[in-house]
Subunit: 657 residues, 3 copies
C-alpha cells in the first residue's frame, strides 16, 4: 500500500447477528456519532453464514452492510473460521485437534490445520463469501480467520504431513538422523515411516524433533491462512488482506505470516496496572513484521474476559492507548467491541456500549479522540515510524527454548524485554526484527540471545557489521545448530569471529545468588546466565568481580570490518544494560532525549513533516522538554520549549523536517 | 415428624462385618455404658449383603441386630450403594462414571447415577433389604446411600438422558439456542441430536451448557436417592428416611434433596484449629433445608482420615461439638465411628474405641455427655431453633459461578460467609435458605450475591419486601439470566426496581488494592467486587472515597412497598458488613446480645420453654451476661445475671417463654 | 570378590558412536594422560549394535575397544536396554509401558519389564553381546541396563503377572482379602480373576493393593535385571556384574537388587550448593546393600542436565567428590562423561572435555587426583569402610508411605535423614541396612520409623537386643501389619515388648505448631508426628511439656534381655536427636571425634592399616585434631596433632592398626 493511499481510521468489532434487527439503526447512529467508520464483522459467524452444509445465508449480513454503508461505514469482513459450526464437527469430529494421547481434545480455535476435510469446508465458505462481497463498494478488506494459533495436533493426517515436511526439509533420513543427533538414546530412524510426531507413546521426545514439530505447526497454520488469503485475493485483488494476531503469543512465526498479508494486524489487551513495556513491544514487533503501519484489529476499551481481576479503566486511558497505538505505527484502531457481549465466555462489559445498549464512559472518550484526529489523520497516515535501531527477535529461538528450557530462570522473552525496556526509557524506538532481515538501515542492532545460529544468520550479521554496523550480542548465544543441537566447535561458534571471543564456560545463578560486573568503573549485580569469555581479537570491556573467576571477561568489544561488536556475557542487571546501550547510542549518534519517568517518545515521519509523540503514561502531569518547536497536531496551537502533559495524556508536535 | 414424637438420641456408626463375632457382645456392652442407643450400619457392606449376584446374605446383620437390640439399641440401616461389589463392576464396568475424555475413571462413590444396569442392581438390593427389615422392631430408619455427590459422568447413557432432560427444560431447540446464546462462537444446534455433554472433544464449552450439566447431574443424583427412598417407603412407610450429606459440598442441591427425606442428615468433621464459622454454617444450612431438626449422621470424635495433619482433640472438644450440634438443631448425634478403622484409606484413630478395642479419651467424654442430656433430652427434642433472619443461598448460583468464575478473587461461598460470620458474632442465628422459599417469617433477609435472578426469585423477594420485609442485597447481583447469560437491560435487572438503583459499572480489585467506603460517618477499606451504583428511587447510604469515582454511591437504601431494601455494592470489609447488619438488626428489632469473643448463642424454643445455649469455643473461661434467669438444663442449678463458662464448655439456660 | 583382587580405578563414560572415528585416538591419548583406565560403553547404543531386527553390528565397538585396550584401557560393557531401537517400538508398541488409563505412555526407560516380546529381544541382544565379548581380555565387567526404575505398567501382561504374583504371595484369595482388609468399601474378591491392577477404572484404590503393586513392580524389575545378569554370567562367569543405581530413587528395592550383582554401583550427581548429607547417605546406602566396596558408575564432573540452574563447579570440587566417594566405600570412580553431549536432552557441558573436544577445568583436576592415588590405590582398595552403627531403612516402608502418606508433613526419608545427619556430624559412619539384615556387628541400631513390622523384623530386632544390642526406635512405629493395614493390638504392636511401652495416642503438628520435650534437663521444640507413650516395663527418659498431655512420656528407655531399647516418640528437633544419639554413642563406646562444621570423617580399614579420611566440605580451611598420628596417604608426609585442611580438600591419614 503506497503511503498516499493510506488513511487513519477508527472502527470497532460488531456482531449484528447477536442483536435484534430493530436495534441496528440505533447502533449505526451511535457509531457515526462516535466517529466509528470501519467495522469488522462476521468473525465467529460461520453457523449463521452456512447454517447447514452447503446452504449459505448472506442475507442478514447484506442487510446490515446495506444499512450501515449508507451512513458511510465501511467493512473488514472476517473469514469466520475460528468457530466451526456444530454440524461440521458432528460430521467430521477430526476437524478438532487430536492431543498427544491421541484424543480429540478441543480448545478455542483448536482445529487441525492440515485436515483435508476441514480445508475443504474452509475453502468453500471463504470462496462463497469472497465471491459474494468482492465487488461490494463498502467492503475494503478481509481479516483472515481470528487470532490464529499454531495448533499442536497429533492426528494421523498431521503425522503424514509432518513426514512429508521433514522429507522436504532434510532430503534423506540420514541427514535428519545427523541433524537431530538420533544416535543419542538409540532414536535412529531407518526410514521416514519410522518417524513420529512427539506424541505421548514415544519412549522419550527429542528436543530437535520438538523444534521441528513447532516449525511444522507454525508453517501449517501460515499455509492455512495463505489458502484463505489466496481465495480472497482471487476474487477481490484490491481488497486489503490482514489478520488479527494474538500479540505476544509465541507459537506462530509472525514474520512468515506477514508475507501473506497486505497489512499486519494485532489485538491489544493491555492491563490497566501493567508496566506499559509489553504493549509497546507488541506494537513494535507487529509493525516490524512488514516495517509498515499496522491495524489494531481489537483495541481493548472495556474489561478483559479472561482476567483474574479487572481494574476500572480510568478516564483517559482508552484515549491514551489509542494515541500510543498511532504513535507506534497504527493507521487503524478498531475497538473491541461495539456492544458488550452477553453470552458464555465473554460476558464482561467489554463494549463501547453496555449490555443494555447505552454508552459507557469509553464512548465519550472515543468520540473525543476520533474528532481530535479528524484534521491530522490523513497526513499522519502517510508517515512511517522512525526506528533507528533494531532488536533481533526469532521465533525459532523461542521454540528451541520451549522445547528445552534447560534453566527455567532464563527466559528468552524476558531477556529480550530487559534490553527493550532500556531502549524505551532512553526514548529510542527499535524495530523488532528477525535476524535474517536486512539490517543496513540501523545505527545499531541488539541481539539479546542467539542460541541457535544458522549460516544465513551469520552471513547477515557479518555483512551488517563489516559494512560499518554495530552489533550488541547478549548472553547464551552461538551455542547451538539451527536444529537445536550443541555445536562441536568452541562457543559462540558462528559468532566467534564476529565477537572476537570464545566462551570457556558459563554458570546459571538462581535469583538468590549474584555476581558483580565492573563496567566503565562502576559495579553492577548480575545473575541468571553468565558467560565467562576469553578474548581473542576483542578487548575486555567489563569483568566479573567475584568467585574463582573474578577478573575474567564478562563484556567484550571487538572491531570487525568497518564495524563493532559487543558481547555482553552477563544478564540480570537493567542498570548494566542501560549503561551499555547508552554508550553504544552515543557512539552511534542516536539521540537520547531526556524523559521523565513513564513518558514515552516516538516519531512518525512523512515526506515533509515530522510528528513527535510525547505520551505520559503516569497518572500525574509531567513536564517535558520538546526536541523542537512546532504545532500541537491535535489543537493546532504552537508549542516550544517545555510543555506540561497531563496524566494519561499526549502531546503530538508537528514540525517541518 | 411431629414435635411430640421426637427424641434426642446419641449413636454411632458401627461395622459389625469388620470385627469378629466374638467381639460383638463386648462392643454392645461398652455402647450401652456410654449411652450409645442408635447405630448406623450396613453402609459400604454391599459385598457382604449380596456376595454374589442375586444371592443375598442378611444373616450376619440379623444376628448383630438381634444381639444389640436386646440391649435397647436401635438401628438406622444404610442402603449400601456407595461401594458396589467387585462382581458388579467386572460384569458392568460402565457403572463407574466416564470422565470428560470418555474413559472409565473411578473415585470414591463415582458411580453413574443414570446407568440402567446400576439402577437395576441398586433397586434390587434396596428392595431386598427394605422388605427384610421393614417390620423389624429395632429398625427405626434408613440412610439412603452415603455422602452422595453429583457425579459428572460423560457416558452415552448420560448423553441421551441429558438431551431428554434439556428437551424437558426447553421444549424446542430454538429456545435452548436463545437461552444459552449459542449464536456466540457459532455453537447453534439444529436438533437435539447435535447437543453434547461438555466433554473434552468439544471445540469449547459453553458456560450455560456447563450450568445445565450441573443441574442435570444434581437432579440425576436426587432421582437416584429418590428411587431408593421410594422403595424403602413402599416396604416401611413409618421408618424415617434420611441421608448423610457431605456438608458444604457444592455439587448437590440440598434443598431439592431434602424434599425426599423425612429428616435431613449431615456429616460433620470440623478441624480442631478451624474458625468455628463453617461448622455453624453447615449446621444452619442443613437445618434450613427442611426448617426442622436434623440428624448428625457422622460426628467426628477422632482423627480425620484425609487431612494434612491432625491436632490432638483436646479434652472437652467432642462434648463441645455435640452440644453445638444440638444448639443449632440436631436431635440425633451419631459419632463416627465406634471403633477405629484398620483398613486402606481409613486407618487413623477415628473411633470412640482404639483399633485394639479399648476406649479412647472420647469414650469418657461421650459417656458424660449422654448422661448430662438424659433428663432434658426429650423436652429439647420437641423444640425448634429460633432463626429470626434468613441468609439466601443458592446452589444454582454456585454452579453458575463454578462454570465461569470470571474472577478467582471473588468466591460465592466466601462472600456469603462474610455476612454469615457477622451475624454469628452478633448472636443472630439465620436460616440459610433458597431465594424461592417463603420468607415471611424473617425479620430481615440477606442475599449476598444473586448474580442470576429468575422471575420466581424476583416475585418472591418483591412479595416479601412489599409486605413489609427488609432485604439486604450484596454485590454482583442481578446481572444474569437464570441460564448464566448476561441480561440486556440495566443491572441489577430484575432487582433494579426493588433496590431502586442501577449499576453503571463495577471494578474487581485484587487483594493488593482497595478503596474506601464512607458509611454512617466511618470509613471502611473494601476490595474484591465493587459495584458503582446510580440511585433511582433509592437514597445513598454509603459512598466510595477514592479514585475517579469518589463520591459515587456504594450503598443504597430504598423504600419498597411496606418494606426496605439495601443494596451493598462493596465487599471485602467484615467491619462494614457488621455495621450494616447491626443497623438493620436494630431497625428490625432483632436482639443482638453482647457476646465475648468466640462465644456463640442460639435458642431452641418449644411450646412452653425456651432453651438458650451459650457455647464457649475459646480455650479459656469467658464471662457471659445471661439474657434471662433460668435453670441450667444440664445440672438443674438456677442461674441468672452473669455466668462464667469454662473453655470449650457450654451453658444451657432453660426458662419459661 | 576377595579384598586381595580389588583395585582402585578411575574411569569414565564414553560414547564412541557419538564421535567420528578419526577423533578416537586423540580421546584415548587424553584419557591415558588423565589416568582414565576404565570405560563404560554401549549403554544406550542398542540401535547401533542391532540396527535392524536380528542383524548385529559389533564392529565399531570392537574397533574402539581394540584401539583403547592397546593403551591399557579396560571396559565395563553396558547392556544397552534402556533405549530400545525405533524398529522394536514400531513392531511392538506395547514394549513401552501402559499408564493407569490404559494408554501407552512413554518416559525415559519406561519399558514394560514383564512384556514377553521385550524380554525376548532383550535376552537376544544381551546373549549376543555377552558371547561376543566374554573372552575379550579388555572387558572386565558388565553394567546391566541403565538407572533402572520400577516402572508402574498397567498392561494386560502385567495384570496377569500381578495375579500370578499375588497367588504366589497369598496362596488363597481369602488370605488376600483378609490381609488387604477388602471388607472395607466392599472390595472383596471372590477369585483371582477379579483382582486388578490399581488402574484408573477402579472405583477406588486400596492402599494395601498399591503396596502390593509396588512390591510387584520392584520384583519385576529385579527379575528383568537378573535375567540379563544370568545370561552374562553364563558366557562370562568371571566378569564383574554391576548396575548403576539411580541413587536415592525410591521405587526399587536396592537390597534385593544387590543380591544379583557382584558389585553395587551408583550414579552420583550432587548439587554444588547442596547440603552434603544426601550424597553421603547415597554412598552409605549403596555400600550397605552388599556391605562391600562399591563402584561409582557415574560421578558428576560437569553440569547436570535436568536442573533449574547450574552453579559453576568450583576448583577442587570434583576432586573433593572423588575422595569422598572413596572415603565412603568406592573402589572405582567413573566420571560422567568423557566429552560433553551435543544432542537432545543432554547438551549441558557435562564432560571432562568440552563439546569441542578441548579439556575443561575438571580435566586437570582429575589428572591430579588419579596421580595422587596411584601409590596408595591398591592398598586402599583392599580395605573396608568401618561402620560401627546401623540405620534401618526399608523400601517396603517407603512404598507403604507413598501409597498412603496420611500426613504430607511426615516424610519417611526426611525423618531418616534427620537421624542420619546427626550421626554424620558426630563423625559416626552408619551402615544403612534393611531391618532383616544381621545386626550383630553394630554397637547400636537406629530405626527412625518402622510403621509396618513383620514377624521376621520383630525376631531380628529382638535377637539383636536380647544378645546385648542397643536399638533406638523413632516415632510412628509398630502401627501396621506388613500389608499396610493397622494392627488390632495396642501400638507399637510387635515392638511393644521390646520398647516396653504402649502408645495411647499421637498427634501430627504442622510446621506452625510445636510442643516442648524435656530430656536430660534440657528442653527441645518438637513437631510433626508426636507419639504419646505409656511406659510398661520401660522408664521415662523424656516428657512432653505443653498442652493437655504435659508430663506424658515422649522418650522411653527399656532394658530387654542383655540390651537396651529407646523409643523416641517425638520428632522435628535435630538438637534432640543429636543429644539422644550422643548419649547412646557414649553408652555404647562409639567414638565421637570433635569435628569442625562441614568436616566429615570416615575410616577404611584393611588387614594391617587404618586410613582415616578427613574431608573439608567448607570453602574455607578448617583445623582438625587428628585421632592418631600417621602418614598422609597422598603425599607420604608424616602428620600428627592438629592439621589444617584447605577448603574443599581432604587429608587421608594412614596408620597401622
Amino acid at each position: 500500500m503506497a503511503a498516499a493511499e493510506r488513511e487513519l481510521v477508527f472502527g470497532a468489532s460488531y456482531y449484528p447477528e447477536h442483536w435484534p434487527r430493530e436495534r441496528w439503526p440505533e447502533d449505526v447512529r451511535l457509531m457515526k456519532e462516535a466517529g466509528i467508520r470501519l467495522l469488522r464483522v462476521a468473525d465467529l459467524a460461520w453457523a449463521r453464514l452456512e447454517p447447514e452444509e452447503g446452504r449459505f445465508d448472506f442475507e442478514w449480513l447484506d442487510d446490515f452492510i446495506a444499512l450501515a454503508s449508507k451512513e458511510g461505514i465501511r467493512f473488514v469482513l472476517a473469514t469466520p473460521i475460528e468457530a466451526s459450526p456444530v454440524w461440521l464437527r458432528r460430521k467430521h469430529p477430526e476437524v478438532v485437534r487430536t492431543d498427544e494421547f491421541g484424543r480429540i481434545h478441543g480448545d478455542r480455535g483448536y482445529h487441525c490445520h492440515t485436515n483435508a476435510a476441514f480445508a475443504y469446508y474452509v475453502a468453500r465458505i471463504v470462496d462463497r463469501m469472497a465471491s459474494h462481497y468482492a465487488r461490494h463498494p463498502a467492503v475494503v478488506g478481509w481479516q483472515i480467520d481470528n487470532e490464529l494459533r499454531a495448533v499442536p495436533c497429533y492426528c494421523k493426517e498431521c503425522l503424514l504431513d509432518f513426514r512429508a515436511w521433514l522429507r522436504g526439509a532434510y532430503g534423506t533420513i540420514e541427514r535428519l538422523n545427523d541433524a537431530w543427533g538420533t544416535v543419542f538414546w538409540s532414536q535412529s530412524y531407518r526410514s521416514w515411516d519410522e518417524v513420529t510426531l512427539p506424541s505421548a507413546d514415544q519412549l522419550t521426545k527429542s528436543v530437535s524433533q520438538a523444534l521441528a514439530f513447532n516449525r511444522f505447526c507454525s508453517e501449517a497454520t501460515v499455509a492455512h491462512l495463505r489458502r484463505q488469503a489466496d481465495i480472497v485475493k482471487k476474487h477481490a485483488p484490491t481488497h486489503i488482506v490482514t489478520h488479527n494476531s494474538l500479540g505476544l503469543y509465541l507459537g506462530l512465526d509472525l514474520y512468515k505470516l506477514g508475507k501473506h498479508l497486505d497489512v499486519m494486524g494485532v489485538d491489544l489487551y493491555p492491563d490497566v496496572d501493567s508496566d506499559n513495556t509489553y504493549t509497546c513491544l507488541n506494537l513494535d514487533l507487529h509493525r516490524s513484521a512488514k516495517r509498515e503501519p499496522i491495524w489494531i484489529m481489537e483495541q481493548k476499551n472495556g474489561y478483559f474476559n479472561y482476567s483474574d481481576y479487572n481494574l476500572a479503566i480510568e478516564p483517559g486511558l482508552v484515549r491514551y492507548w489509542t494515541i500510543q497505538d498511532i504513535a507506534r505505527g497504527a493507521n487503524a484502531v478498531l475497538y473491541y467491541r461495539w456492544r458488550s457481549g452477553r453470552f458464555s465466555w465473554e460476558q464482561n462489559p467489554n463494549g463501547i456500549l453496555r449490555h443494555d445498549g447505552t454508552p459507557r464512559r469509553a464512548y465519550e472518550e472515543i468520540r473525543r479522540t476520533t474528532r481530535e484526529f479528524a484534521a491530522v489523520g490523513a497526513e499522519l497516515a502517510a508517515t512511517e515510524v522512525e526506528a533507528p535501531v533494531a532488536l533481533l527477535h526469532s521465533f525459532d529461538q523461542i521454540w528451541a527454548f520451549e522445547a528445552q528450557k534447560q534453566y527455567p530462570n532464563f527466559s528468552y522473552r524476558g531477556h529480550l524485554t530487559s534490553y527493550y525496556r532500556e531502549l524505551l526509557r532512553m526514548g529510542i524506538t527499535p524495530d523488532v526484527v528477525d535476524p535474517c532481515m536486512d539490517l543496513a538501515r540501523y545505527a545499531f542492532v541488539v541481539a539479546p540471545s542467539l542460541a541457535m545460529v544458522s549460516e544465513e544468520t551469520r552471513r547477515n550479521l557479518e555483512k551488517y557489521v563489516a559494512d560499518g554496523g554495530c552489533l550488541v550480542i547478549g548472553a547464551r548465544s552461538g551455542m547451538k545448530t539451527w536444529e537445536n543441537a550443541t555445536i562441536d566447535t568452541p562457543w559462540p561458534g558462528l559468532l566467534s569471529d564476529l565477537a572476537g571471543v570464545e566462551i570457556d564456560e558459563f554458570e546459571v545463578l538462581p535469583d538468590r545468588y549474584s555476581n558483580g560486573v565492573l563496567y566503565n568503573g562502576k559495579s553492577y549485580r548480575v545473575n541468571g546466565w553468565l558467560d565467562l569469555l576469553r578474548t581473542k581479537e576483542a578487548e575486555t570491556a567489563g569483568i566479573y568481580q567475584e568467585k574463582f573467576y573474578a577478573g575474567r571477561t564478562a563484556i567484550a568489544r571487538n572491531a570487525y570490518g568497518k564495524g563493532t561488536v559487543y558481547y555482553v556475557g552477563a544478564m540480570g542487571s537493567a542498570e548494566l544494560f542501560r549503561a551499555i546501550l547508552s554508550d553504544v547510542a552515543d557512539e552511534r549518534g542516536v539521540p537520547k532525549p531526556e524523559l521523565p519517568e513513564e513518558v514515552y517518545v516516538t516519531h512518525r515521519v512523512g515526506e515533509r513533516m515530522r510528528y513527535t509523540f510525547y505520551l505520559n503514561y503516569a497518572r500525574e502531569p509531567r513536564r517535558v522538554r520538546l526536541a523542537k518547536a512546532g504545532v500541537d497536531a491535535l489543537t493546532g496551537r504552537t508549542v516550544s520549549g517545555e510543555a506540561l502533559i497531563e496524566g494519561l495524556d499526549a502531546l503530538i508536535v508537528a514540525a517541518e523536517k
